[in-house]
């Protein structure tokens, strides 16, 4: 199992610090935070520095890989599970693919840590839970550590440790405000969302585990290179099974059909979490997994085709739902599912570089969009807070009880949803910085030249147009819808007139939040330069080519690029015609609702997929488990078979057989001695016990006599 570690120059010895650095930050905040009464700034700084240190290590590792001409290097930290031929180690793997992921995770991660200092400062105050601030950063650091294990592991099982670890962090952070719903009302909603994410991911992990078992017994190892080597001579049906079970895992983690359902609910987490975990990094783990396993997927084209179809189907399906959403984060959530579909489709088609390219640019612009949306939501909160304050001061004389009464029937004090786009409008005036940042993110996502998304999405479309026509058309349609729902969002949020007083009083966010956004905006504009479709500019392709066996470097195809650009512009124009020309008024129904009818109802209600899952899986499971527990296990097995049949028969027999032997007084004394509880037990039960203990005493006696008798008289 131990491949000899290549002795190379570089900073490879730093590899464990990818994990230890964020863990150190976590431990400092966890252990010393309370004792030394760390301020919020201190907590945030420690956590950001820890994440930043991981970024520095990533840079050094990537540099070391590049000076070694892309040679892969392992760094073994310790042994993990060694049982027979099962040999698992804590070994880090550094090659161009893993270091790329490290850079994205720690780079975007650090920016989001910094942003979160500002965001959480306000969030904990709106929720009146200031003591919970440090916990957020502890979880965030834990996430970085787990994600680093995921991307740097040298075997499928070490990857799996990170894989489930990030799932745990996702659970903890979705449920960060576990006692409320997204509108801060006491509720089970957020914790339900957290639980849903964990369990859905576990379904995916089940697939991953089965793939792992097959891998071990048919390919003999979990270590990447050994698996790839053995796969070449393995029966293809085994490889198909492995890759398809792995796809179940991918569908869970990267939110693909049919396991995507957890991701929209995951928006219950604070916005930095949505940006970091549920857009930029964790959800792309599935894409990374397929890319990492390129060598086994390449062996089975039929499995690759299924992966690509799942991806393309998800891309289109999720895009249709995004069109019908009103929550600013929900739109982005479905957009993320859709974009992940693009990536999965790409790696399914074998266009690994295109998939990774889109993964990177998407991390930039989707993190930008989410964080800007967070800025919008906080801006709305500030506006609402401002209003409530003014409102409160205008009538200070009211007693507590009467103010509660007015709270109930006054329309003005209704529950306010700061994330509902129907409450927004005209925010470009009150939040100009956020507005421009949002525009940049939108143009990148919509794939407008020359923003980052244009280049990466086009590469995927181009590959599809060359190999799989049906996938090409699905993705192109999805791209059209993407530009449309983003246009719809822009018009609804930033243009027109405020539809709620809070929007009129919205305030811009502080610099600690907007500066990281500007960095992300710059990356969203320039990110395309990573891999331009011109001779000599396929930088990412060249870099990943060190790790991936085949890399396609396609030149720009004006036809594909032209079609997608024209469609994107057309989509934005359509959205302007519907939402921009005549801005939505307060209380007005969506202009798409009438022309689309039941189709729009479907989009609005997410095609009733959650309801379907409840009807087909969740409710039947609940009923089954209730039935097994109450009827089968308790009423039948416990009460009837044991207490009535066995106990009853035994008791009846012993009454007949033992009446002559038993000393009623002695037994009663014994029962009384057992304690006062005897009184509370019913007389019938006591009678049964008496019979029992009596017969037990007899059987022990019998046993002893038997043994001794045998021993003596043999």
């Amino acid at each position: 199992m131990h491949l000899s570690e290549t002795v190379t120059s570089g900073f490879f010895f730093l590899a464990p610090w990818l994990v230890f650095a964020p863990l150190t930050g976590l431990l400092i905040n966890l252990i010393f935070g309370k004792w030394f009464k760390f301020s919020e700034k201190m907590v945030g700084t420690v956590a950001s520095l820890a994440s930043g240190a991981a970024f520095v290590v990533s840079v050094l590792l990537a540099y070391s890989v590049s000076i070694n001409h892309g040679e892969m290097v392992r760094w073994r930290l310790a042994e993990w599970i060694h049982v027979g031929t099962l040999q698992l180690d804590w070994t880090f793997r550094m090659d161009s693919l893993s270091t790329t992921m490290m850079l994205v995770v720690s780079g975007v991660g650090t920016l989001i840590h910094i942003y979160a200092i500002g965001y959480m400062h306000e969030d904990v105050r709106f929720k009146k839970e200031e003591g919970r601030f440090p916990r957020f950063f502890i979880f965030l650091n834990l996430f970085i550590a787990a994600m680093m294990i995921l991307v740097s592991g040298d075997s499928y099982m070490m990857l799996f440790v990170g894989w489930e670890g990030v799932g745990l962090c996702s659970f903890l952070l979705i449920g960060f405000w576990y006692e409320m719903d997204t509108l801060a009302r006491p509720s089970w909603a957020n914790s339900n969302a957290a639980k849903k994410a964990f369990i859905t991911n576990r379904v995916g992990d089940f697939g991953f585990l089965i793939a792992g078992f097959l891998m071990f017994w048919y390919l003999g190892s979990f270590q990447f290179d050994q698996v790839f080597e053995a796969a070449k001579s393995a029966p293809p049906e085994i490889i198909v099974a492995i890759t398809l079970f792995m796809l179940v895992g991918v569908a869970g983690k990267s939110a693909q059909i049919p396991l995507y359902i957890w991701l929209p609910d995951a928006m219950a987490g604070p916005t930095p979490v949505s940006a970091l975990i549920h857009a930029a990094t964790m959800v792309t783990a599935g894409v990374y997994l397929v890319t990492r396993s390129a060598e086994i997927y390449t062996l089975v084209p039929q499995a690759q085709y299924i992966v690509a179809m799942v991806g393309a189907g998800t891309a289109l399906f999720a895009a249709t739902i995004a069109v019908g959403q009103y929550d600013i984060k929900k739109v982005l959530a479905y957009s993320t599912i859709s974009q992940l579909g693009f990536m999965v489709a790409a790696v399914g088609m074998g266009a690994y570089v295109a998939g990774m390219f889109h993964l990177i640019t998407h991390a930039f612009f989707k993190a930008l969009l989410f964080l800007s949306a967070g800025s919008v939501i906080l801006g709305m909160e500030r506006g609402h807070h401002h209003l409530a304050h003014a409102h409160h001061e205008s009538k200070p004389a009211k007693g507590k009880k009467s103010s509660k009464e007015t709270h109930d029937d006054s329309h003005h004090d209704e529950i306010f949803d700061p994330g509902d786009m129907r409450n927004m409008g005209g925010l470009r005036k009150t939040m100009p910085v956020t507005f421009w940042l949002y525009i940049i993110g939108t143009l990148a996502l919509a794939g407008i030249f020359p923003f980052a998304g244009f280049w990466s999405k086009d590469e995927i479309l181009l590959d599809a147009s060359l190999h799989f026509t049906s996938i090409y058309w699905q993705l192109t349609l999805a791209a059209f819808l993407t530009a449309f729902y983003m246009g719809r969002q822009i018009w609804m949020v930033f243009f027109g007139e405020p539809r709620h007083a809070a929007a009129a009083h919205a305030e811009e966010s502080p610099k600690v939040m907007t500066v990281p956004l500007m960095v992300l905006a710059a990356l969203s504009i320039l990110g395309g330069a990573l891999n331009l479709p011109f001779e000599g500019f396929h930088n990412l392709g060249h870099w990943l080519g060190y790790t991936l066996a085949e890399v396609e470097s396609l030149p720009l195809d004006l036809k594909v690029a032209g079609i997608s650009t024209v469609l994107a512009l057309a989509a934005i124009l359509t959205s302007w015609l519907l939402y921009g020309r005549n801005p939505l008024k307060a209380g007005q129904i969506d202009p798409l609702k009438r022309p689309l009818g039941f189709i729009f109802t479907g989009m609005e209600n997410k095609w009733f997929v959650d309801e379907g899952y409840f009807a087909i899986i969740i409710n039947p499971f609940k009923k089954l488990s209730q039935f097994l527990a109450d009827v089968i296990d308790w009423q039948f097995w416990h009460d009837f078979v044991h207490d009535t049949v066995i106990l009853g028969t035994y008791n009846w027999l012993s009454e007949i057989a033992l009446d002559h032997y038993a000393d009623q007084k002695g037994i009663d004394a014994f029962a009384n001695w057992l304690g006062t509880a005897t009184q509370s037990v019913s007389a019938t039960l006591r009678k049964i016990q008496n019979g029992f203990v009596r017969s037990y005493a007899l059987s022990v006696m019998l046993g002893v006599v038997l043994i001794l008798g045998y021993l003596i008289f043999k």
Binding site: V83, E179, A194, F206
Partner: protein, 497 residues
Amino acid sequence: MKFLFEPLTLLTFFPLLGVIVLLFMNSEAKTAIRWVAMVTSLLTFGISLWVLSQFNASNPDLQLVAKYSWINVAGWNIYYYLAVDGLSILLVLLTAFLTPISLLSTWTAVEERVKDFMIFFLLLEVGMMGVFLAQDLFMFYVFWEFTLVPMYFLIGLWGGPRRIYAAVKFFLYTMAGSILMLVAILWLGIYGNTFSVPDLIAKGSIPTGIQWWLFLAFTAAFAIKVPMWPLHSWLPDAHVEAPTAGSVILAGVLLKMGTYGFLRFNIPLFPEATVKAAPWIALFATIGIIYGAAVSYAQKDVKKLVAYSSVSHLGFVMLGMFALNVQGVSGAILQMINHGLSTGALFLLIGMVYEQTHTREIKVYGGLWKVMPIFGTIMLIASLSSMGLPGLNGFVGEFTILLGAFGSKAIGSPWYAGISAIGVIMAAVYILYMFQKMFLGPAGEITQHHQLKDLNWRELLTVTPLLILMFWIGLYPAPFFNLIAPAVEKLISALPL
């Protein structure tokens, strides 16, 4: 009298010294009584560590052997025979480790008849040690039956409202199986002219037809103890009614006596029957895994939920053991320890909050994490360990078990492991359900109306050792696997596979 100075004699019977001291103490001197019991159990744990230092991990055979002729009547050879090997060393350590922890948890929870409680508890430790160390069938049987007595009283005297019912059921259920085992033991003694297990194994094969009957007789005793589905009906009663410390020991150690019995007696004594029975055991184990997890999810009483989860977890242990390959069996042994740690911790933690609220109904809690942050965090770690999160102990055991079972020649089909892996999803369902309804969400009745205090130093001290081991085994299980590996290799290589 030389046998008195053997290390394993000392380890087994040392708690009796504490019992003797306790007998002469005034029953009102509760604190002193607690300290005597605690010091005794800590010294016993110290002795177990000393035994560990004397243990040679690379030797697959029985070690620190204390073998003396005990009863020698009519040509019968019953030995005083204590020894330890890789199959039992971890369980011995677990017993010595969990006893002081359980005692610490009773510090304020047990106020009545403290002296009697401590005496029974130390007697129970003697019994458990004896079960794991005895290598003579007769001696084993004596210890096996002996453990019933103190446990019967621990449930019956310090238990909940239906304690008498639960205690009697626990006693009789176990007895019923044991009687069949006794018959088989007698048969073996006559057949082999010895009760010494190593001698019986060395003597070689018992006719296959008879092996079946003996296998079944031993299985009757052990399967009830594990408990394997569908013989689990005594377990929820016993757990729900037992005091916290009783539940910890019951789940942590007593159930392992069943799985250990299979490992020590069924597999090496009846190899042909074992191989033949493997698919059947795997079938029952798989049903138990799924059934236990499903029933767990429907529970309203948190202790009952954990009790049924044991049915599921012990199913994993049985599945791995009867995979009869090195991954499966090693994983099964490690999972016995893991289950002791994680379920032990869950029972301890539930006991801590029960002491304050006196209810175990899940739905009256809610929002506990907010008022008891340290408690919530520790509960989360114990829950994650129980549901097998990688990086914690439960995963290492479950993964190796499922891996072993998936490719097991003896079981012969990957379906058992495949279906059992669904149990991993279902574990997340019931554990997260429990965690959510008690610790997350808005504050429930109890959380609102009680002035709940977070864990104090004593309670932290009680669970911290368990937490350390959860991380240790999860991240670096090598020292544990190294202890068991040679003995497992030896056990498997003797099977006709």
